[in-house]
Amino acid sequence: MANKLKAYTILTLLVIGLVFLGIGCTGNENSEGSSPVQDISLKGSDTVLPLAQAEAEEFMIAYPEKSVTVTGGGSGVGIAALIDGGVDIATASREMKADEIEAAKANGINPVEHTIAIDGISVVVNSNNPVSELTFDQLRGIYNGSISNWKDVGGEDRPIVVISRDSSSGTYEYFKEAVLLGDEYRPDALTQPATGGIVGEVTQNSNAIGYIGVAYLDESVKALSLDGGNGSEYPSSENIISGAYPLSRPLYFYTNGEPSGLTKEFIDYVMSEDGQNLVLEVGYFPINQ
């Protein structure tokens, strides 16, 4: 018995030893194999993050000796980092504000804007909901609390359950600006920590309304046509690319001065056909060139 136990102990130690040996080996290979000679860093919008990450991965596969680091944090965080000279490219899902440009100029930074893709926000309801289009005024009323029943917007006599994202989402800010025109979200709106939560609640609750990126649209929910004053438009790719759909916004890269070196190479890659195809794959829309 004691012998058996001893044998097990030795075996276990041996296995652990081998594992550590293995870890040691790969570590060495990595540090010797591909030490990057050039690197740039991107920081900013969480909306742009999946796109920037996909672009960076493909770019690094094509040019293994170059390294592109992408981090999120929010548009404001990225722009602040650009102003401090901390990053090569700031990613943003909104335009730089006037005071940000001023702060940059004061710091000797000359921000240059590059539009890299277009993002659409769709307003979704349960598939059993007879409502299929809303005007911006109705949508604003629903989200600021002045409309609380579906019958007021042409639906059934049922309460509206309004769903919003949490305040750290870029979409939350954009929606507040574009639809609520600065009004507060109604205080009784449900707040979901992720797009998946919104889709989940809308799928099973026929009273619910929420907003999600067009990239996340699927058959489980119904996207509404929106009327921003120029007729009702469905969030189809054509309408978003042409700008006819009212809830779409450009996504930006900001650089300090005209890009050069690796920064220019990376932006050129993003704007190339390969890069723009990737935009579609990630779920955003390529820009007209």
């Binding site: 359950v161 205080p187 449900l190 920590p193 099973q204 609750n205």
Partner: protein, 296 residues
């Protein structure tokens, strides 16, 4: 010989510094939490924070009122305890007094597994299964309510309550039990007249720790309670969406600019949460001490 003595000393001091590290970490967490939390009161008065009725962190007229979040936490936790305490104590009594040892041995590991399930899994289960059930059962506009959170938290607090109550019940001296049975009391009379009163302080400690577990839970409540920051009515608000203190921090910490008022407000909420759980643990500890004295 000398060598051996040194070795003992070294091992002892290494073990001491490792355990001392826990205290240091706790102290540092306190320090940083309170330091950043206190900075809020440069912009907002303490009274406004503690008695404010509105939590509008991103609006033009920012308001950082704790009350909606505090009552949200309170409501969800109270519901969880109402749900978990009777179930938990009943299970503990069954396992330690009534069940056949084989049945008890079969049940115990399952209770322990329940404690090991990650909270995001509980949250997912709640969102997909319980939320629609609550909505249709009470015919509500949405199933994301305080009640849903309470039920989920109750399930999550069950293992804590069962395990600690069971410990308390089984450490009641068997002489007490045998004496009661010898006097002609039935098994049920023995349980509720002798064993439960004798184990009461241990059971109370279990309940307090269960409350501590429930009030600090984040992921699950964030996924099932709807996160609406308005003061819930009582007791009807149990069927309305609520937002807890923990969920607020988790929801808003992501993109809050560092060093802003909002940032400090979240730390202040964290400090309040810390003080509450600290007090609950202190109470549980003192109850436990009393109970140990009693059994001896």
């Amino acid at each position: 010989m000398l060598n051996r003595k040194y070795k003992e000393k070294t091992i002892e001091s290494v073990l001491f510094s490792v355990s001392a590290l826990t205290v240091v970490i706790l102290f540092l967490i306190c320090l940083f939490l309170f330091r950043d939390g206190l900075l809020l009161f440069k912009d907002t008065s303490l009274l406004d924070f503690l008695t404010g009725k509105f939590w509008y962190p991103t609006s033009v007229n920012r308001q950082f009122g704790l009350l909606p979040l505090f009552f949200g936490s309170l409501l969800v936790t109270a519901g969880a305890i109402l749900f978990a305490v009777p179930l938990g104590i009943a299970s503990a009594i069954y396992i330690s007094e009534i069940a056949h040892p084989k049945v008890a041995d079969f049940l115990k590991p399952f209770i322990e597994i329940l404690a090991g399930i990650p909270s995001v899994v509980f949250g997912f289960f709640g969102l997909v299964v319980l939320v629609p059930v609550v909505r249709t059962a009470f015919n509500l506009p949405t199933g994301q309510t305080a009640l849903t959170g309470s039920i989920m938290l109750g399930i999550m607090a069950l293992p804590t309550i069962i395990t600690i109550s069971e410990d308390a019940i089984s450490s009641v001296p068997s002489t007490l039990k045998q004496g009661s049975l010898a006097l002609g009391a039935t098994r049920w009379q023995t349980i509720y007249k002798v064993i439960i009163p004798a184990a009461l302080s241990g059971i109370s400690a279990a309940v307090m720790l269960g409350i501590g577990r429930a009030i600090g839970e984040t992921m699950t409540v964030m996924m099932v309670t709807g996160n609406t920051a308005i003061i819930p009515s009582f007791p009807g608000g149990i069927l309305d969406p609520v937002r807890t203190m923990t969920a607020t921090i988790a929801l808003e910490m992501g993109e809050v600019p560092q060093g802003s008022t909002h940032f400090h407000a979240l730390f202040a909420v964290g400090s309040v949460l810390f003080i509450i759980t600290f007090l609950i643990n202190l109470i549980a500890d003192s109850i436990k001490k009393r109970y140990r004295f009693k059994v001896d």
